[in-house]
Structures are given as structure tokens and as C-alpha cells.
Symmetry: C2
Subunit: 494 residues, 2 copies
């Protein structure tokens, strides 16, 4: 198994050029590809950094008055971002300044849950009740759900009865359903009213309602009948009844509709808010597009983490080292078991390996190429399922296509490796054939398995993204090693 001195010395001139050309082509496209994507900038660019530095500096100096002035000019969402990057001690001090402003409610509903729990430890329920009374009831429900149960109950007791009932009603829904996402503050009027009356009522309403661009129309004791935009309302003569001018073809969801589907309805039909009805078709709330943007972002993050077998908590970076390790341990255990199985397989082929020791050198490349093409396939399929581009009715078509891709790429890289082994390892004549054919076979199989696994998970109603990464690469390790040694055994007549 000693390496021949000039590895490429044996190659005919033309082949040598072909390899170099291929390297050149691949590198060119890599560089081109990387360049093309470099214009992407960080979500929060320099503005965020400048704000963070300023907050830090003012806080260090104890310049409370200046800090207060800065905070009043800053959007609560930006302050929430700043908080992620402050130290524990800094957060405490800066929050004391925020607590003096009106923004405290909005701020609390913007920050990450891990930071929220840290901050509220120092607050009295009485103070929190005062803050909460200024917040929208759907934000209050989210806040109470995030708090430790004991504290949430204490706060609920101190709340005004009316507010508490509204919040309790919202809290009965699963947070990942339309009921959990919706706001009960919307504009709705009975269809018997005239357009003129409606405009008057809109003008007189003092409280802020969310998405006050749509007026929902109800009939009977509050059943959803239709919708009209504020602008359309203005276009009609004031004596017309709402029920005669409304758009009655209104898309709605029910309180238990999953947030994925709510997101789908809003993004598919390009609407700004979708009305939520209960089992009696009574209008009980609306879900607005800004909540849906957060859902889409979080779902993408969860899919990423799940795929890598790293849980699904988008705040994992804010968790303790031990929590982080515990979240990731189970899927690593699965891959440990897979590795032990690969170990048994290689141990089983002990005699063959002893005869042709060079076989060991190709283990990483055979399973590596398999693992990487499998990851590509599963990623394409998982994302295709999430964006509705995979047709679950025509699975065989999808699988055969990926199999063909595996066959093409397996042939190319198998041929490369086969030639390299043939000219590089003079010791065993057929080694080139073994490793070349193994790469071809394992890559084709890997592309197929990588496609198959997420599709099967999906068919069994599991989440397609769930730990597909570790599961697929581990399967490829086992199957790849097995196929490789079986091919070696039969081709080398061991």
C-alpha cells in the first residue's frame, strides 16, 4: 500500500490536462458563486452596532439622562436586539432606564424569552400589572405564557376582571394555532348598518384596533358575513347598507387552524389579515401579516435546527452550555449507534482488509461522497416540501430523478477515483475498479436514500426535516461501508 512516487506520472498527457481543466472549471464556478452571494449584508448592519456601542458607553458612564433620551428615540424592536448583546449586568442597569418609559410594554413583548425571564425576576407583580394594562391583550397573553406559572397567576389575580377574562380567553388556545396568534381588537359592524353610519363609527372609535384598514361585517349574533376595505367604504354613497356593498367571498380560518396554514393562506393570497372564527362561525379575532412574518422566520429556523438534529429552539444560542449539549445529545447518540454498526461491519471483513490493507484508505472518501450527495438530496426535498414544490402524488418520479442525478455524479467522481487508485496504488490491480465502482454505487444509493427518507417521514405524517441530516448520513455510513466491502470481496476474489 505504499504510494507510488509520482502519482500523476503514470497518466497520459491528455488525461492530466482533463483533470486540471476540471479543477479549473470547478474552482471558477466556486469563486463565481461565492462572489455572486457576497453582496448580502447582515440583517442589522452598522446602525445596530452604533446603537449598541452608544448604549454601552452611556451606561458605563452612568449618563442616565442621555440614555433615556436615546431610548425614547429608539424603536422597541431595536432595543430588543441591543439587549441580546449586552452582558447580564448591563441589561439590569439599562432596563431600569427603560422601566421609566412608556415603551416598556412593547419592549417586553419584543425580547427573547430567555432574556425576558431574566429581567422579570427583579420585577414585582404589581409593577408588571401596571405595564400590562397598557398592552394589547394578545401581547399580554404571550407574555403570561412565557412567564413562570406562579408569577403569571399572581399577575392574573391583580388584573382588572375584564382584561383578565379577555386574556384568559386567548390563553386557552395552543400558541401555534390561529387562536394563539390572533388579536381580539378588530373593527366589525353589523351588515344592516349604512356606509355613512359605519364611517361615523370608525371616526368615533377612540381605542386603537389592529389592522384598521379592513372593516369586517357580521350578521345574526356576530357571524362573519364579509369584509370591506376602508377605501371601498369611502367610494359608496352613505345610504347603502354594508351587507350590499361588502365582499362576501372572504377567506377565514378557525381558532384551531395550525399557524403553518394561516401563514399559507396569508402569503398565498397576498392578504394583510385573515379573520378567525370559532365553531359557530362567530368572528373572534384576526391574525395580521406581521405576526405571520415571525411565524415564517421561526419555522425556517426550526427546520434548519431540526434537520441538523439540534432541537428546534431558535433561542438555543442563549441557553446554557449544558442545555445546549442535552438538546443535541439524542441525535448524536443515534449517529454513535450507527458508527458502532459500521465498526462491526468492518470488523466482520477483517480477513479481506488484512489481505488488501489499501482498502482502509478509501473508507472516508466512499462514505464522505455518499454523505454529502445525500445531504444535498434531502435538503432539496425538505425545502421542496416546505415550499409546496414536491408533489406527494408522484413520489416515484421525484425519487427516480434524484437517482439519475446520483448516477451521473457517481459515474464522474467514481471514474476520477478509480483512475487515481489504479495509477496510484500499483499493489492491487483491481483496486481502481473496486473504489470507482463503490463510489458510483454508494453515491447513487445515497442520493436515493437522501430523497426517500424525508418523503417517507412526510408520508408517515412526521416532520420531514426532523433530524434528516444525522439520520441520513448515519445510514449512508452503515450502508456505504457494507456495500464497499461487499464490492471489494467479490471483485477482488477475497
Amino acid at each position: 500500500m505504499t504510494l507510488e512516487p509520482g502519482l500523476f506520472g503514470y497518466l497520459p498527457e491528455r488525461y492530466n490536462i482533463a483533470i486540471q481543466y476540471n479543477v479549473f472549471l470547478s474552482l471558477t464556478s466556486l469563486v463565481h458563486f461565492m462572489k455572486e452571494t457576497t453582496f448580502k449584508r447582515e440583517m442589522i448592519g452598522n446602525e445596530g452596532m452604533v446603537l449598541l456601542d452608544t448604549v454601552r458607553r452611556l451606561n458605563r458612564r452612568g449618563a442616565v439622562a442621555h440614555l433615556l433620551k436615546l431610548l425614547l428615540k429608539t424603536h422597541p424592536a431595536d432595543m430588543a436586539w441591543v439587549f441580546r448583546h449586552l452582558s447580564f449586568a448591563e441589561r439590569k442597569k439599562v432596563f431600569n432606564v427603560i422601566a421609566q418609559t412608556d415603551m416598556v410594554g412593547d419592549f417586553l413583548s419584543e425580547i427573547d424569552q430567555a432574556i425576558l425571564l431574566e429581567i422579570v425576576q427583579d420585577l414585582t407583580p404589581k409593577y408588571l400589572v401596571a405595564v400590562i394594562s397598557e398592552m394589547a391583550s394578545d401581547d399580554v397573553a404571550d407574555l403570561l405564557e412565557a412567564l413562570p406559572e406562579e408569577m403569571a397567576n399572581e399577575i392574573r389575580q391583580l388584573m382588572v376582571k375584564e382584561d383578565r377574562e379577555e386574556v384568559d380567553e386567548l390563553m386557552q388556545y395552543h400558541p401555534e394555532t390561529a387562536g394563539g396568534l390572533m388579536s381580539p381588537d378588530f373593527m366589525a359592524l353589523d351588515g344592516e348598518l349604512s356606509a355613512g353610519d359605519a364611517i361615523k363609527i370608525v371616526q368615533e372609535r377612540s381605542e386603537e384596533s389592529e389592522m384598521s384598514f379592513y372593516l369586517y361585517i357580521t350578521h345574526g349574533d356576530g357571524q362573519l358575513a364579509g369584509v370591506i376595505s376602508l377605501r371601498e367604504l369611502l367610494l359608496h354613497p352613505p345610504y347603502r347598507q354594508l351587507k350590499n356593498i361588502m365582499n362576501s367571498n372572504v377567506t377565514s380560518v378557525t381558532t384551531d387552524t395550525n399557524q403553518d396554514e394561516v401563514a399559507h393562506v396569508i402569503s398565498q393570497y397576498n392578504i394583510l389579515a385573515v379573520p378567525v372564527v370559532d365553531s359557530n362561525y362567530n368572528l373572534v379575532g384576526i391574525v395580521t401579516v406581521d405576526d405571520i412574518i415571525d411565524v415564517i422566520r421561526e419555522e425556517a429556523t426550526e427546520d434548519f435546527l431540526r434537520m441538523a438534529g439540534a432541537g428546534k429552539d431558535s433561542e438555543i444560542l442563549l441557553k446554557s452550555t449544558m442545555d445546549n449539549a442535552l438538546t443535541r445529545a439524542p441525535w448524536l447518540f443515534a449517529s454513535w449507534v450507527g458508527g458502532v454498526m459500521a465498526m462491526f461491519i468492518i470488523t466482520f471483513f477483517h480477513d479481506e482488509l488484512q489481505k488488501v490493507l489499501a482498502l482502509a484508505a478509501f473508507i472516508p472518501i466512499v462514505i464522505g461522497m455518499g454523505g454529502n450527495i445525500a445531504t444535498q438530496s434531502s435538503t432539496i426535498i425538505i425545502r421542496g416540501i416546505a415550499t409546496g414544490r414536491v408533489n406527494m402524488q408522484e413520489l416515484s418520479k421525484v425519487i427516480f430523478k434524484e437517482m439519475r442525478v446520483g448516477l451521473i455524479l457517481g459515474t464522474v467522481y467514481g471514474l476520477f477515483l478509480g483512475l487515481l487508485a489504479f495509477f496510484g496504488y500499483a499493489e492491487t490491480q483491481y483496486l481502481g475498479l473496486v473504489v470507482g465502482f463503490s463510489v458510483l454505487f454508494v453515491m447513487t444509493m445515497a442520493a436515493t436514500v437522501g430523497t426517500f427518507v424525508p418523503l417517507i417521514l412526510k408520508r408517515l405524517n412526521f416532520d420531514a426535516a426532523i433530524a434528516t441530516g444525522p439520520f441520513v448520513t448515519t445510514s449512508i455510513d452503515i450502508l456505504g461501508v457494507l456495500a464497499y466491502f461487499l464490492i471489494a470481496k467479490s471483485l477482488l476474489n477475497l
Copy 2:
């Protein structure tokens, strides 16, 4: 290297229970985790399938009148979804029916680009001009950008001069900037007008403008001065001037602002539309939240694909097998080169391997555990960067944390493997120590490298997601094999 008959026979009773308990714990949490995530349903559920089947059936029967009736009741976005799942021949026939309806313009702006190109091949420029004249100018610009250049130019020649100029203006911007996303149809009035006049003008405007809930206020020759919502407009007495009632603290972007940042502004501040200004601060368009949802989705898909080294084309599933293979080839070539390097390393340790053949059996588990923990780390970091949860100022803190996670998990799984090797392979006494320590070392290193790579890419202003997957696993293959054999050489005194 023969396996001892009773693998766990040598273990003390207590240890045996510990292993079983750990297996139990891990499996329990896996099952729990999978259950928790099963309620997620497909984006387009049964409704989509029913629609698809009905369209197919009516088309097969040639029931054009029924098909037409069904189409008129269907949202263009749903028809676009159906089209993804029809065959080439079916698409042609069904499109002939769509072409008779008013929805054809909306439909063409909803379908995937690959399908669009297929459909327009059969259409005359004259027909397309007629369709286009009914479409919003930003959709026309997108359509012309998607068409082959020759055809787009032919269509441009046939367009009314006024429309052509508007579209040409939009087409000068990069499609991934605010200029490329914006719509020029918005409501803007001069600040000198009164609220009453403004309401009258809104009522008289016949053409549809996008997001007609915000009225933008300009001064001078069209510079952005402020914004007022339609509802606020209604609340003020008719004689007040717009400039006195408008909200002048309006967030805007410029035509060349990157789409990521536009998405950030809209989602961070929960607004429905952001005004776009040119270099003279003239208001030239608005980007609406529905366009931003598409941007966020597409960016997530691109990040997924890029991470797996599968290009960045979200329509890859609709591409030919050859295009698909070509997109994936470069990063597989990189991992091929990595595999060859691992091969050289193992070949270099030829003599050591010959002395302790059992070393070969542990190659897959050492590099597999490394690869999987590295993928977890990079995924967490890449998603943390995308959602603004990684602080680029405190990189060492982030890296050390992941290193600690690697150390904890490496100790646990290294210990397991070490004990297994110690009791399973009697042949070499120190083998358990070698493989245990190798897993510990490689996992710690892998978690660190997996964190480091995306952070460094980011620092160098590359996209953090770019092919991190193949790049990281390939590096771990090389470094892991090297570390493993060096550890073996020194501990076994080979």
C-alpha cells in the same frame, strides 16, 4: 481483531444497566421529540389535492366549459400551484382555457419561472402585450425579466409608450433591491392639500393602487415628507392641511437598498409597506409586506440549499437532471479532493495500521461523530447570524461556548466508545484509550471548526451559509483522520 463473543459479557452489572438506561433515555426523548412535531401539516393540504384532481379529470374529459367555470372560482395562486403538478401536455391544454379568462395576467405572475418559459413559447408577442396591458407595472417588469431577451424586446416595442417607459424605469434596478421589488402605483399627495381635498381625491381615483391604506405626503417636487393612514385622515377636520396632520417620522429605503434590509425594516418595525426614494429623496415607489414574505421564504430556501452545497436556485426541482447535477458537482468535487487527502493520510500511516488492524474499524465513527456535531454547530451559528442572534463583536465567547459543548458531548460518547473498544477488542489493551480519546478530541475540534467556519466566512463578507455543510464535513474528515492516527501512534507506541 476478532470480536469477543459476548460483547457486554465483560461489563460489570452496574455499567450494563447504565448503558441500557442511557439508550432508554435517548430513545424516549427521540420519540417524544418526533411526536411533538407531528401535528405540522402540509402547506397545501387536501384542498390543493382535490383541486388538482378535478382539473386533471375535467381536462382529460375535454370538459372545457366546466373547467372554465372552475377556473373562474379559483385564485390564480392556487392555479399556479396546480400547474407545478401537471404534465407538460396537461399544462398546454389547461393554459388554453386560462388564456380565455381575465386571470391570465395574475396567473403568469404567480407561476414558477421554469413553467413560465415553457408556456410563453407558444404565445405570440401580440397576445402577451394584450395580457400585459392589464397587469401592474411591477409584475410586468418581473415578467419581462423572466422572458428570453429577444422576446422581451419584441414585446417592449409593441407596448404603449407610456407603459413601456414606466416598465423600463423599473427594469433598470437589480431585481434583489428595493427598486426591483417596488410598485410605482401608490397614493401620494402634496402636503399643502387639506384633509377634505385628500378624501375627495381618494374617492375619485379610479385606478387601483397597491396598499391603498397609506397616503404618502410629499413636498417640493415630490420629496417624501410623511405618511398618514386612511383611518387617521378620517379623524381630522376637513380643513386641516396634510402637512400638519401627517406623521413625519417615516422610515424609508432607497432604490438600491438590498432586499434583505427591506425585509428587515418591514419585519422589525411591523409595517405594511415601506416607501422607496431615489437619490434626490423623491418618492418613486413602495415595497409591500406581501412581496417581503416571498423574499423571506426564498432567502430561507436559498440558505438551506447553499448550506448543503446545492446551489441557490429554489426551483432546482423543476430543472433538468443534467442542470441539477451540474449545480451540485462543484461542492462534491471539493469533498472529493478532501476524501483524497484523507486517503493520503491513511496511506501515510500504513505501517501503524498494519500493526493494529482494528484501527480501521473505528474510522467511520470517529469522523462521523465529528461531522455530525460540526453540522449542528454550523447550523446553529448560520441561523443565529440570519436571525441576528449571533453577536459578531463577541466571537470568542460564541466559539468557546461551542467548544465546551463539544467537550461535554465528546467526553460522554468518547467514554462509551472507549469502554466498548476496551471490552470488545481484547487484542490491543490501549485501543479503548485511543478511540475514546480520539472521539473526545475530534468532537471538540469539530464543534469548534463548525462554529469557526461560518463566522470567518461572515467576517470576510462572504455568505455564512455558503456550502458550509460540505466544506465543514470535508475538513473534519481530513483533520479527524489525521488526529486519530496521530493519537494512535503516540498512545500505542507504534
